[in-house]
């Protein structure tokens, strides 16, 4: 997977999430879609660049672990909304990681 291909796909995903955000009337889902759009267009693009080029590998995976750990912490304090956001973040990261490995996304 070349970075250009990766970036193009992520831009498409970001656009798709923005569209979903516009279409939904649910306040919470809107903010989640916007969060994911922002992740695809900024954070995951930058992380993918360093990962694909081999400059700094393993960063994306450590962020994924942090998200999972945070999700558990939020569940302990009954903050289900924040826990669910962390789960959504983790899913987005996993999706980008699968794309990098050219697996089915």
């Amino acid at each position: 997977m070349t970075f250009e291909m990766y970036q193009k796909t992520l831009a498409e995903w970001a656009g798709c999430e923005k569209e979903k955000a516009e279409l939904t009337e649910d306040e919470r889902m809107k903010s989640i879609h916007l969060m994911k759009a922002s992740m695809f267009s900024d954070m995951l693009t930058v992380l993918g660049k360093t990962e694909i080029s081999g400059v700094r590998t393993g960063v994306i995976e450590s962020i994924l672990k942090t998200c999972i750990s945070k999700q558990e912490s939020f569940l302990k304090v009954c903050d289900f909304d924040s826990a669910d956001r962390e789960r959504e973040k983790a899913e987005a990261i996993k999706r980008a990681m699968r794309l990098m490995k050219e697996e089915t996304v």
Partner: protein, 189 residues
């Protein structure tokens, strides 16, 4: 104290209103609310955070659960009180002022008699005002009458009488004193 805007924003959602209606019945935890409203715990949690931020509900830990309860004191405020919070502040300030005034009167005028005038200007003005209330606005008094009225409250009637003139609360002409009123407040003479 919740500010009006955040309260109105928090209330402008059907799900949040439903949550409040449930909480009005009894204190509940997220899962129970989710079950009752047929929503996901994450959705309920999201809306509860908004209600918490607006000060409409409060939370407390109860063993494994986070219990949420409605804050009735905020919900009983009128729309006017929420929309114009500065009026509440004014009322609060007036109340504090009144409490301070009562405290000064109690300290310097026990049983309606003032033995010593306060040295602090603000306190002395309160005592002067209290003494001045024994005069009728618009009425004229002879100097002897003025002295008698003041003398019943404070023995140094001359100082107080001169202060009333200096403050513009009374005018003097040919030994006759006319009560103008406290409305025309001047600075301390």
């Amino acid at each position: 104290m919740s500010d009006g805007l955040s309260v109105f924003k928090a209330l402008a959602d059907e799900t949040r209103l439903k949550i409040l209606m449930q909480l009005k019945e009894k204190d509940m935890y997220v899962e129970l609310l989710a079950q009752r409203l047929q929503l996901t715990p994450a959705t309920v949690s999201f809306h509860l955070k908004k209600l918490l931020a607006a000060g409409l509900v409060e939370q407390k830990r109860d063993q494994y659960y986070m219990m949420y309860s409605i804050k009735i004191d905020v919900l009983t405020l009128t729309i006017g009180q929420l929309a114009f919070p500065e009026e509440n502040t004014q009322t609060k300030e007036a109340l504090l002022e009144s409490q301070y005034r009562q405290k000064v009167i109690k300290s310097f005028m026990p049983y309606g008699v003032c033995k010593t005038l306060p040295a602090q200007v603000k306190k002395r003005m309160i005592v002067y005002e209290e003494i001045f209330n024994h005069f009728e606005t618009g009425k004229t008094y002879k100097e002897k009458e003025v002295n008698e009225i003041i003398g019943k409250i404070h023995e140094d009637f001359c100082t107080v009488r001169r202060a009333f003139i200096g403050l513009g609360w009374m005018t003097r002409e040919n030994g006759i004193y006319t009560v103008v009123g406290i409305g025309n407040r001047n600075e301390m003479p």
